[in-house]
Point group: T
Chain length 162, copies 12
Amino acid sequence: MYTVKSTLPEQDLKIVGEALQGALVDLVDLSLVAKQVHWTVIGPRFRSIHLQLDEVVATARSYTDTIAERAAALGMAPDGRAATVASGTGITGVDSGWHKDDKAVDVMVGALAAVVNRMRERMVVTEEPDPVTQDIFIEMIAELEKHHWMFQAENKVDGHRG
Amino acid sequence: MYTVKSTLPEQDLKIVGEALQGALVDLVDLSLVAKQVHWTVIGPRFRSIHLQLDEVVATARSYTDTIAERAAALGMAPDGRAATVASGTGITGVDSGWHKDDKAVDVMVGALAAVVNRMRERMVVTEEPDPVTQDIFIEMIAELEKHHWMFQAENKVDGHRG
Amino acid sequence: MYTVKSTLPEQDLKIVGEALQGALVDLVDLSLVAKQVHWTVIGPRFRSIHLQLDEVVATARSYTDTIAERAAALGMAPDGRAATVASGTGITGVDSGWHKDDKAVDVMVGALAAVVNRMRERMVVTEEPDPVTQDIFIEMIAELEKHHWMFQAENKVDGHRG
Amino acid sequence: MYTVKSTLPEQDLKIVGEALQGALVDLVDLSLVAKQVHWTVIGPRFRSIHLQLDEVVATARSYTDTIAERAAALGMAPDGRAATVASGTGITGVDSGWHKDDKAVDVMVGALAAVVNRMRERMVVTEEPDPVTQDIFIEMIAELEKHHWMFQAENKVDGHRG
Amino acid sequence: MYTVKSTLPEQDLKIVGEALQGALVDLVDLSLVAKQVHWTVIGPRFRSIHLQLDEVVATARSYTDTIAERAAALGMAPDGRAATVASGTGITGVDSGWHKDDKAVDVMVGALAAVVNRMRERMVVTEEPDPVTQDIFIEMIAELEKHHWMFQAENKVDGHRG
Amino acid sequence: MYTVKSTLPEQDLKIVGEALQGALVDLVDLSLVAKQVHWTVIGPRFRSIHLQLDEVVATARSYTDTIAERAAALGMAPDGRAATVASGTGITGVDSGWHKDDKAVDVMVGALAAVVNRMRERMVVTEEPDPVTQDIFIEMIAELEKHHWMFQAENKVDGHRG
Amino acid sequence: MYTVKSTLPEQDLKIVGEALQGALVDLVDLSLVAKQVHWTVIGPRFRSIHLQLDEVVATARSYTDTIAERAAALGMAPDGRAATVASGTGITGVDSGWHKDDKAVDVMVGALAAVVNRMRERMVVTEEPDPVTQDIFIEMIAELEKHHWMFQAENKVDGHRG
Amino acid sequence: MYTVKSTLPEQDLKIVGEALQGALVDLVDLSLVAKQVHWTVIGPRFRSIHLQLDEVVATARSYTDTIAERAAALGMAPDGRAATVASGTGITGVDSGWHKDDKAVDVMVGALAAVVNRMRERMVVTEEPDPVTQDIFIEMIAELEKHHWMFQAENKVDGHRG
Amino acid sequence: MYTVKSTLPEQDLKIVGEALQGALVDLVDLSLVAKQVHWTVIGPRFRSIHLQLDEVVATARSYTDTIAERAAALGMAPDGRAATVASGTGITGVDSGWHKDDKAVDVMVGALAAVVNRMRERMVVTEEPDPVTQDIFIEMIAELEKHHWMFQAENKVDGHRG
Amino acid sequence: MYTVKSTLPEQDLKIVGEALQGALVDLVDLSLVAKQVHWTVIGPRFRSIHLQLDEVVATARSYTDTIAERAAALGMAPDGRAATVASGTGITGVDSGWHKDDKAVDVMVGALAAVVNRMRERMVVTEEPDPVTQDIFIEMIAELEKHHWMFQAENKVDGHRG
Amino acid sequence: MYTVKSTLPEQDLKIVGEALQGALVDLVDLSLVAKQVHWTVIGPRFRSIHLQLDEVVATARSYTDTIAERAAALGMAPDGRAATVASGTGITGVDSGWHKDDKAVDVMVGALAAVVNRMRERMVVTEEPDPVTQDIFIEMIAELEKHHWMFQAENKVDGHRG
Amino acid sequence: MYTVKSTLPEQDLKIVGEALQGALVDLVDLSLVAKQVHWTVIGPRFRSIHLQLDEVVATARSYTDTIAERAAALGMAPDGRAATVASGTGITGVDSGWHKDDKAVDVMVGALAAVVNRMRERMVVTEEPDPVTQDIFIEMIAELEKHHWMFQAENKVDGHRG
């Protein structure tokens, strides 16, 4: 038989495994959402946002792999299938059709804020059971918060946000 | 207002647009499925199949972009969101958990066969309304059938398949 | 004597040769027009459009070479001299002086639309006499329509256009 | 058992398979002939032709692989062995010993003309059964005719040729 | 309003602006002429001259951009449109149709001589009003005279030239 | 003892040395100011200006090194320390806190204008004593004026400026 | 309005923001000091130290950007202007004029020791409020201590130091 | 005298120094063992494992340098000599002679498990005295556990293991 | 007349020339055979062997050129045409159709053994007449024997072989 | 069974195998010793020697692989394990702790001299049984003697050496 | 006949031609002298100076080509043969045998000073007849004086120099 | 004292040293001669020969370094100064002034023949005393004879030569 034994005790693995599985779902969806807006943005800022979104895609895809392979390395089979992502993602409010540029920026501010929020919780719960996994969350949050800043910096905030 | 006018007449666009939207859904799912198996394959051929699957991912991601941007160029907003993909994909039978290597190869033979089959139909229906879109399907089928061959070449066929 | 014999019969060559010569003139002018606007655009979107235009130049220059060498390969000497271009181009309405950014985008939408339109006609007439030449038109149209989408996506359309 | 199932029906595969097998033989021989002349050319134009021939070799080797793997992808084992090539090639008239430079150019004009001619026939017969294979022939003919032009452009034509 | 203020006083700008506009026209035409001959040269030296001409194109295109952007930087909108080039160029005598190789070299010797001559005059008149612009002319002349030497070195001079 | 002997006579060195030291101070500050605005710009044009500013930083850092090492090569120890820069810079009016994008562009137009102005004076005074140093100023002014144009081209000028 | 909202609560942000602002000042000065010595070092070890210092500059510049953009990502506008650096830096004792090589090494040992010391304090205070920021300090200290070792390894220590 | 002063107090250095010295010995041996198996593996999976092992070598060599230089940076001379490695390594059971492929995989699973186990202990003991060193262990464990997973995934586990 | 004079006396050239011509034939065939198996291998080890064979092709093609140009450099026109290869090769037993993976490995062990054997004889006979040619054989044998080892290492030897 | 058959007769293999095994041990140790000194050198020449030693490491590691794989290619399993290296190496006198720079150079002169000496003996004994192996020794000696020169050139020789 | 006509009048060409021919001789010798010292330097600074000298060689070789081709471009055949260089060089005092490192630096300070001195004279005399040639001297002097500074910076000056 | 001890006994070193010194002189001159003709060739084949000569320069310069550093590695200071080269070279008959292209080729055939001839003698005499040095001659002769062939292949041989 072929099996991958965990280097963590079972109860630690349970906590870490849930954090990794949740992060995987959010990251796959972040990559799909960023591509969706990349294709459908219109308006005077089209080109700038179109390019900026591919940098979010690159970050999301890269950490998708890191997170899923970290789960595998700990002996847990990750699940990044479309249906799992569709039902478990923390990102909401991405409509079909074209996105006017200021709407596109607003959507990305919201999506990144939601993901950062959940990742910060995962960073906290993994500290004790596995500092190795936590360190991956820490580095990833730094990158996600950088994207978050950049979209905020070009986002006009109305009364109902921020 | 910002709008993208199509260079195709409306009824041609309808046919071509459906073909592109269907292809987009299949390609996003192919990229997710190939990554899913990439992370969960086990067995003596683990490393070879793990690497081979990332080449499928590269093809699928590259054509995902080409197809979605072709739709946009024709004035139609593509939809590659997770829920749309989960409900519309032509790929079936990818389970959660670990995949023994021969099972992994078998899954990919099936997934690629399903996608090629649907793409060949799209190649036929787009010939008249838009040879430019058809040419993209033609090139893509060449690449997908190459992956299909490679997984078949290493796939043991039992009585119930092939 | 040094001559380049055509692989096409004379009447086919006549049709194909006219299509190639016409395309060459349009492409040389597209490269000159895109550079002209690249140098003279002003306004808040200056930098983005300035960079975007060099990508049009790259496409136009690359296909200029492909098209002219295709003509030579079929035994017909192409003509891409300034006077030939000035009198034969399908692009109109590029003024001297500075271009405000929204005007610049509008000029490029118009120039690309005109070129795509003529290229689609050439794609049709070359299908029978030379599928090899037609295939070059097909690929080129895909690239030109992609540029066309991108400028449309950032172009505010008033009543008198679109 | 390991087998590669074709995506084409049997009678279509027969036509396409013959075209691919014939093309493979011509391309392997074109690569060998171009190398042969690359090594044995002499005369004032030695260096220029020596370098030019390696570009033909690069084209021939690249399409040799594309064509043979297209056959495999369709479920047909290609045959590119030396004896098969020696007996089936469409190229004739390459002598042993040194080649004076104008003779070398003449040999290549003849070899490329022969191969282009056969490839154009294959382009025609594969259109119906498999547009994917036909598209490969179309792209390849564009490259081969470009080489053909370049050797013609430097080839002095006497009464008995051209 | 968006305007580019010159760092030069008006009368200096007038001199420098004329020199830059004249240089732009010559350089655009040099790039078109070199490409024209690149496509239409025939004869035993075809390949060598074909390659050599693309190096002239590279020089001409690179300085076209430098010169036009220098004009813009000084607050003057440059004009590099086809009609402006066709009527203002200093290059003459480039016929349509094929160019036998020795004729092709002769054409380029003439074209480069004409351009160098006019650039040397521009180098002189810009020294006082703007050494920054003059320095660009100086560097460009070094490159153009290098191309001029290389075509002369392979050009058979009859009684009526040189 | 280790000393660097000047190739210039003492009184020439005095003039050239002052010009180089002044240029060094301005360039170090230009690099710090451009980074400052790079970090603090906000508004719809955030991303475009953020990227544009790093190109100014690259120019400023590159010439900082060239100028300081030119001074050393002439036997004069340059001084690029923070306090020297803070007290000697020709750039003014860069506030702390966030910069709205149009304000950011305006700040850079002003900073570049101030630096260009001082560099043009240095170009004049170094001509006689050291054409080698002058040539470095000439090339640098070309680059700085190019940046100056680009920020002006996207800068809305009100009554009180320009 | 355009604002960057912090993902940290206000009191945590105050601690983290002060640490980042302090680090920014030290890093900008480290880059200026290392360049200053890079230009003014003399003595038999000139070339080795001249090159070594550019590696310190590279580290300092890279972390300057990381730190300043981390502050921005947390909603705090960083301040890296020359006057702020001159008054707030932790580095002292860099004289004007030439630096004999052993003196140069000694200066760098001192500068790096001062910066490492302050960075270690920042690493401690940021642990609780923001592990993401702390992780940046941890990685940076590893690099700075590596430079510190290398200069110490080639530094002759007299009685009054170490 | 030339000495490297530690930034850590003596008792912290003692703990950290032992962890680093132990890690160095394990990593040098891991690189030697992976090479040993790289050269001596046989069996149907020879090529795949041969290549996979060089990736372990790359990881081991890279961290060998990082760890040894971290020790030096803290003022402690590391010891990576052959005899020190031979007597202190945590890896056992690597025989001379050829390794059948499944045995080779089993050896590497054991070697990596032993090293990971010891590194996790070092990660724990260094947390208090030096988070900078701990962070290096954390990153290294992530890489080692990834290799560990990959060999496990292709390793058939019998009753006596796992 | 254009001739290439040998630096070797005639009787030495005869020995060396025969060795080079024989080697050329074997190497061209080795490249064709390795490609043939590259295209037709099937079975669980398909991908690994498919990739491994392209490394043999690279070696064979590279030495084909080296050997043929060494012959030319010695004044002897080499002969690498298909018919010459088909009749003179030392490699036997490569069938048409698909190759099961263990059969494919066995074919390559046999082909490489045959070629190495003949190359070792050529190494011996060329030592006296031309150490320069012999040195090429020596280097080539090292590479061929390395490929030979790698295929043997993954080849199950039955009673009738080895 | 999987075995690697030698192309050498048994008694030749015995001689060649011993030479290769001895060389492997020396080269692994040379790489470890050079790294050891790389980490522990101190003194004014620290940086220069630190860098120089990594070039020795690169040479040693590269030939370690070449030599071990040559043994495998001849059918002999090489042994490069730590204990084998520790007991069989020809290098002596590398102490623990820091190495003052002149001592470090002296150690490397001695280590390289010892290795070169043994390699020259191996070059002699392998000439008859296997010129292919001998040629590897010849090339390696050229590289090792180049390193040997470079360390000698910077090594002060006292009475008791040289 | 093939001739290269000068763009300069005869008397101007005479002045410029002499300057270029003199510069060519000095530069060829500078490249030979720098290589000579590169090979023969010994002493504790061997490696640093050995590497530094190859940068002088790179500068000298690059300008050798620029200067010689400038002469050709002006219609004058340059002369860089060994005997011409040996008799005409401005560099003196390079002995055979080994060079102790401080002597090596001193030799290079002298050689570079001599060359810079003569180049500055050439810069002056070419200003009027050909600013294009003068500009090449200006750029070259900047590079040569940079090398001159670097060798001076590490050169101990006794009473009889400096 | 700094000295480089030879690994060869004195009488062997004498033979090898003379061979290396002679080779160095020939190679430096070959690089100067090839550059001389590179600059002064004229005629219809100018460009082809101009480029071909830079490949000879590259070979000559590369082996100049290899040979000189081999001498140094054996403890002998090489001498590659201009006067030594001018008096000791084996190349004759390179005139000043322009070289018509067929004359240029003839000069290079002669120069390469002379150098090859002397190198073959050096290959013979160094075999016994130092196979390591001989191997360098062997590889170099292969490259030089390749250049020799290429120039012969384009050289018209009259009665008085060859």
